[in-house]
Every structure is written in structure tokens, then in C-alpha cells.
């Protein structure tokens, strides 16, 4: 009965329509090089402000799934990844397209993205409940360290330099703390400005950091002339799909693993999985880097499986692992849902709703991918000069419609220019967004932990090192800082360098 209600919610005409539109829109945005998934999700988040949670989730989840997959179109057709997660797809996707096999490559990418996506969601479904049970034992000390781990990992792995990542995350937390303090009602960093008393809404921050800054950054970069390859037959042969199922499962597991660790993300998942395919596939259809279907399959199944993986820490612990999950978490918070173990206890229907909506979005992705490529592929050729002014209009409208307050447009502008400067000077924007979203949780858990430790800093530190879960998290934090996951970074660089040389 419980599941029937959830399925009937998803299949209500309005939600189904929004899911279909969101997935298609996500695919198209993902397919256009230069338009990031964060940009699309940030804009959409603002439009869903006044909607019900079910409608908001339908649109956002559809767009999220679509964006991750959509990057493969331009990667295969133009040799330009529409999203960072599709970098590895270019290695073999474009050579295939030049051999006149673009359709088959896209068809396989679609089918394996679908299987990878479902694998990720299957693992989410079985892993989340036990993790939730562990998370229910978390106290303020554990949450404080957990948020620190999340921010540090995202800051250090997403950025190129550890110190820049930490600065971005710290500044994000400071921006997230602006406004009334939740304990004493004191205005922090408001500078007696009435507009700052209520804090800075995260939607204008998101839109500024992802839309305005991206538009400015892309405008300043070289815009190469593009030429699209012929597509041809899209639906892959069943024999080919079945033959590659073991590789897809292996790649999906790697994608899920990368998704569960904050900061790794779908781009690294795809690159590592590509490397794994190179080492494990004995007889590829062609040499890797020169048009091997296995290269496309490994990359695409891993990056889509990663989506399910990133949901595990977000839904069970309340800590998003990348920008997209941070935005999704922001949308949930905006609609009164706090992701974390209690969500799964007190409002488990939303956990299952997200899961089933993602499954439905994967089906839409499969249908669109196999039927609309020939019709919609030209969208990857849309000129930036046409898109960018329209994005600015939507960004301004999106930030205004949140609470109908013109000050949000000013905040959006401020964060847009700040984000642009951050991108120019290699400060990771994603870490700042995570800081903004996690600031209230970090502040609350830190101060509660201090009170629990008897307002003594030495006792607070002792508690951090004597509570088992907190100690384990501290060890993870320490190891992460010590190694910065050097082995992953090394393989990332190696794969990237090898494949650039291969070209």
C-alpha cells in the first residue's frame, strides 16, 4: 500500500509531465558544452520555490539524471564533453563518431547509462537503511566532524590546491552564517543592514555562483568552431549490450564507490572506470582511444551509477558529496525536508519517493536517448552568444521570484562576480556552495557539542577523540588531508595525460 501510494504520486499526470520535461531539459542542457549541470539545477531550484515537494523533486531529479547523461552527446558528436563527467567519454566516443558509428556509440552510452543508473539506485536502496541505523547513533560531536570531513574532502579534491579549497569552503560557511544566530538571536555579519538580518538565501548564491559566473567565464574563453558528426542508427544490438553487461556492472560499482566519497564525483568515477576497463578488457572492439565501445560503456555506466552513490551520504547522513547533491539538498531544505537519518525514520516516504522518481527518470532518459538523438542533437551547436543573454534573464527572474525580494538580484550579482573571480584564480566554487548549505548544521553541531562537553574546549577535544565514530571520522579526515587521495589524483592525471597523448 505504501509503495503503491508513492508510485501513484510519481505517475500523477503533473508529476510525470514535470519529470519528463526535467529529464529532457537536463539532457539538452547537459549536451550543450559550457552549460553546467550546476547551472541548470540552480536555475530550476529557484523556479520550484513555491511548488509542492513532489513537483519540485520530479523536475529536479529528472534534470539531474538528464544532465549527467546529456554530456555524452556532445562528447561523442563534437569531442567536447557537455559536462565534466563526460570527459572520459570523448576518448573513444569521438573516434567512433569519426568512423561513422556515432549512433551506435550514443545508443550504447544510453543503454549502459540506464543500467549504471539503476545499479546505483539498487545499491542506494539496500545500503541506505543500514547506514541510517549507524547514523542514528551520531551525536553533535560526530556531526561536527562529519561536516568537517565533507567540506575538507570536497574542498581538497574538487579544487586543485588544498588551501584554496579550504578557503572556499570556509568562506561558504561564513556566508551561510550571515543573519540571525539560532541560539541567541544575534545578527552575525549583518553590519546593521536590515537586508542581511534574515540571512542570504542560498538560491541567489547558487544562481550567482553557477549561472552568472559560468556565463562570464565562458565568454572569456576561446569559442572554437564546431562541426557535428553524422549519427546514423542509434538503437544498439542486443548481443552487444549483453556482452558488455559484466563491464557495465564493474564500472557501475566503481561509480557508486566514487559517489559515496564526498568530493570524488562523476568525472573521476568515469576516468577511473575507463582506466579499469583498459586494464581488464582483454579483447576490446578496437584499441582504447581509437574507438573502443568498451571505453564509452565504462565511462558512461560509471558516471550515471555515481548519481545513486552520491545520494547515499546525502540521504543517510545529511552531507552532500558534490555540487549537484548540495543543490538537491538545498531544494529539500527549502521545502522543509532535512536529509539525514531522521528523514528516513520520520518521513521515509520521501526517501522512497526520491528513489522511485530517479528510477522513472532513468526510464525517460533511456527513451529520449534512443529516440530523440537525431532530432535534438543539433542543440549542441547552439551558439553561446544566443544562450548567454537568455540565461542572464532567467537568472535574474529566478533570483527575484524567491520571496519576491529585489535584494536577491543584488546578492546574485555579487556572487556571480565573486564566482567568476574564483574560477579565474582556481578557487573551487563547489566547495563554497557546500559550505553555504552545511553552515547551519556545522554551527549547530559545534555549539551543541561544546555545551555537551561542559563548555570546556579540552573536554570537547577529548570527546572528539574518545567517541568511536567521531574518532573514525577524524582518522578519515587526517588520512584525506595527509594523502589528498594521492593514488586517485595520480591515476586521474595519468589517464588524462595518456589520452591526451593518444590524440
Amino acid at each position: 500500500m505504501f509503495f503503491l501510494e508513492i508510485i501513484s504520486t510519481i505517475f500523477s499526470p503533473a508529476n510525470l509531465f514535470l519529470l519528463a520535461v526535467g529529464t529532457l531539459g537536463g539532457i539538452l542542457v547537459g549536451a550543450i558544452p559550457g552549460l553546467s549541470g550546476g547551472m541548470a539545477l540552480a536555475l530550476l531550484a529557484s523556479f520550484t520555490y513555491a511548488w509542492g515537494i513532489e513537483q519540485a523533486l520530479a523536475l529536479m531529479v529528472g534534470a539531474w539524471v538528464g544532465v549527467v547523461y546529456g554530456g555524452s552527446w556532445s562528447a561523442i558528436l563534437l569531442n567536447m564533453p557537455g559536462a565534466p563527467s563526460a570527459i572520459a567519454t570523448t576518448f573513444d566516443g569521438y573516434p567512433l563518431a569519426r568512423q561513422g558509428k556515432a549512433g551506435t556509440a550514443i545508443g550504447l552510452a544510453t543503454a549502459m547509462s540506464f543500467i549504471g543508473g539503476l545499479c546505483g539506485l539498487f545499491v542506494l536502496a539496500i545500503a541506505a537503511p543500514p547506514i541510517k541505523n549507524i547514523a542514528l547513533r551520531f551525536g553533535s560531536h560526530e556531526y561536527f566532524v562529519l561536516v568537517l570531513v565533507g567540506l575538507t574532502l570536497v574542498g581538497s579534491l574538487a579544487g586543485k590546491h588544498l588551501s584554496r579549497g579550504i578557503v572556499s569552503a570556509s568562506l561558504g560557511v561564513i556566508f551561510g552564517l550571515v543573519g540571525m544566530d539560532f541560539v541567541y538571536g544575534f545578527g552575525r555579519f549583518t553590519f546593521s543592514n536590515p537586508y542581511l538580518i534574515g540571512g542570504i538565501h542560498f538560491i541567489p548564491i547558487l544562481i550567482g555562483l553557477f549561472c552568472i559566473s559560468e556565463v562570464l567565464f565562458q565568454l572569456g574563453s576561446f569559442d572554437a568552431k564546431q562541426s557535428i558528426q553524422n549519427i546514423g542508427r542509434v538503437i544498439p544490438e542486443l548481443k552487444m549490450v549483453l556482452k558488455n553487461i559484466p563491464l557495465t556492472i564493474r564500472s557501475s560499482l566503481m561509480g557508486i564507490f566514487c559517489g559515496t566519497i564526498p568530493g570524488l564525483g562523476a568525472d573521476l568515477a568515469a576516468l577511473l572506470s575507463y582506466e579499469q576497463a583498459k586494464q581488464t578488457v582483454k579483447r576490446p572492439s578496437a584499441e582504447f582511444g581509437k574507438g573502443a565501445y568498451e571505453g564509452v560503456i565504462a565511462a558512461e555506466s560509471a558516471n550515471n551509477a555515481c548519481v545513486g552513490g552520491t545520494l547515499i551520504p546525502m540521504l543517510t547522513l545529511g552531507v552532500p558529496g558534490d555540487v549537484s547533491t548540495a543543490i538537491m539538498m538545498g531544494v529539500m531544505l527549502m521545502h522543509g525536508l532535512r536529509p539525514g537519518p531522521l528523514l528516513m525514520v520520520e518521513a521515509s516516504e520521501f526517501y522512497w519517493l526520491i528513489l522511485f522518481t530517479m528510477i522513472a527518470a532513468n526510464f525517460f532518459m533511456l527513451i529520449y536517448g534512443l529516440t530523440l538523438v537525431n532530432l535534438c542533437a543539433r542543440v549542441v551547436m547552439v551558439r553561446k552568444e544566443i544562450l548567454f543573454p537568455l540565461i542572464i534573464v532567467l537568472a535574474v527572474v529566478g533570483s527575484y521570484t524567491v520571496e519576491y525580494n529585489p535584494i536577491h538580484m543584488i546578492f546574485m550579482l555579487f556572487f556571480g562576480i565573486l564566482g567568476y573571480l574564483m574560477k579565474l584564480y582556481s578557487f573551487p566554487v563547489g566547495a563554497m556552495v557546500l559550505g553555504v548549505i552545511l553552515a547551519p548544521l556545522l554551527d549547530m553541531s559545534f555549539r551543541r557539542a561544546i555545551v555537551i562537553s561542559g563548555n570546556s574546549f579540552s573536554q570537547f577535544l577529548t570527546d572528539l577523540f574518545t567517541r568511536p565514530i567521531s574518532l573514525i571520522l577524524l582518522i578519515i579526515l587526517f588520512l584525506a588531508l595527509l594523502t589528498k587521495f594521492q593514488f586517485i589524483r595520480n591515476s586521474f592525471n595519468r589517464v588524462f595525460r595518456n589520452n591526451l597523448k593518444g590524440e
Binding site: 538580484m409 546574485m412 550579482l413
Partner: protein, 150 residues
């Protein structure tokens, strides 16, 4: 020495010190540790030390060897740079004007000017690209989403 990194480190150090000063000036009720300024203080210290690290790195690494290159602010002499500055000015103007005039009027002026600034010269294209999206956005938001536009 990478000049941009050094400038960034000086600015960030100033920001860190500002945050520390602001957090110290926040009131506390009995205990400083659980006061509103405790976490901002810690963050201010972290930002300050990270900025020092960036500064030291900039000074000790004169050629930027091993660094993953950072971009620079675009120059006015560069056509792409001019587009960036034009976009900033036009967006700021759009945000200012939209507060005083209706969305429709402001957008219908903003879009063709921006398209023109970005290199689209065909008059018919300019009109079509400006009028049609403006009307679509207006109708979708006001009729479908039932939201009030500025």
C-alpha cells in the same frame, strides 16, 4: 612569484582578519565557546593561515612551476575580454533597471543590446531573439507558474 596569487593571499588575509575581528566583537553570554562568534572565529583563523600558505607558495614558486595555471582577468584589448566587461555592465544595468521598470520593457531592451554586444548583427535575428523569448518567459512565469515578475 605569481603576482595574482600574492594579491589573492593579501586580500584573503585581510578578509580573515576582518572575520576574526568581527567574531571577537560579537556578544557572549557566560561562555565564549558557545557564543555566536565562536565558529566564525575559527573560520577566520583558518582563512588567515590558508592565505599565508597561498602567499608563501606564490613567493617560493617564482615561475609557477608545478602549478596548474590560473587564468587572468581578461584585457580590454582582447575581443573576448570586451565581451565579458560588456556583459557585466549590461547585467548590472539590467538588474538596476528591472527594479524600476516592468520586466517586459526592461528585458525587451536588454536582450537586443546584449546580443548586439556579443556579436549578433542581423536585425531580424535580433528582434526575433529578443521578442519571442521575452514573451515566452513572461507567459510561462505569470500564467503557468503564477509568479509575479519584477
Amino acid at each position: 612569484m605569481k603576482r595574482s596569487d600574492l594579491v589573492a593571499s593579501i586580500i584573503l588575509a585581510a578578509v580573515g582578519i576582518g572575520i576574526i575581528a568581527e567574531s571577537i566583537s560579537m556578544p557572549y553570554f557566560g561562555n565564549r565557546l558557545d557564543s555566536p562568534g565562536s565558529l566564525p572565529f575559527v573560520l577566520g583563523v583558518i582563512i588567515f593561515f590558508c592565505s599565508i600558505s597561498i602567499g608563501i607558495n606564490a613567493i617560493s614558486n617564482p615561475d609557477g612551476e608545478g602549478e596548474i595555471s590560473t587564468s587572468k582577468l581578461p584585457k580590454w584589448s582582447d575581443p573576448q575580454g570586451r565581451k565579458v566587461y560588456a556583459m557585466v555592465v549590461l547585467t548590472v544595468s539590467y538588474v538596476i533597471l528591472i527594479r524600476h521598470f516592468h520586466f517586459l520593457y526592461t528585458t525587451i531592451v536588454f536582450l537586443p543590446i546584449t546580443f548586439f554586444a556579443l556579436g549578433i548583427r542581423n536585425i531580424m535575428k535580433l528582434v526575433a531573439l529578443s521578442v519571442i523569448p521575452t514573451i515566452i518567459v513572461y507567459l510561462v512565469f505569470t500564467r503557468l507558474f503564477r509568479v509575479i515578475l519584477p
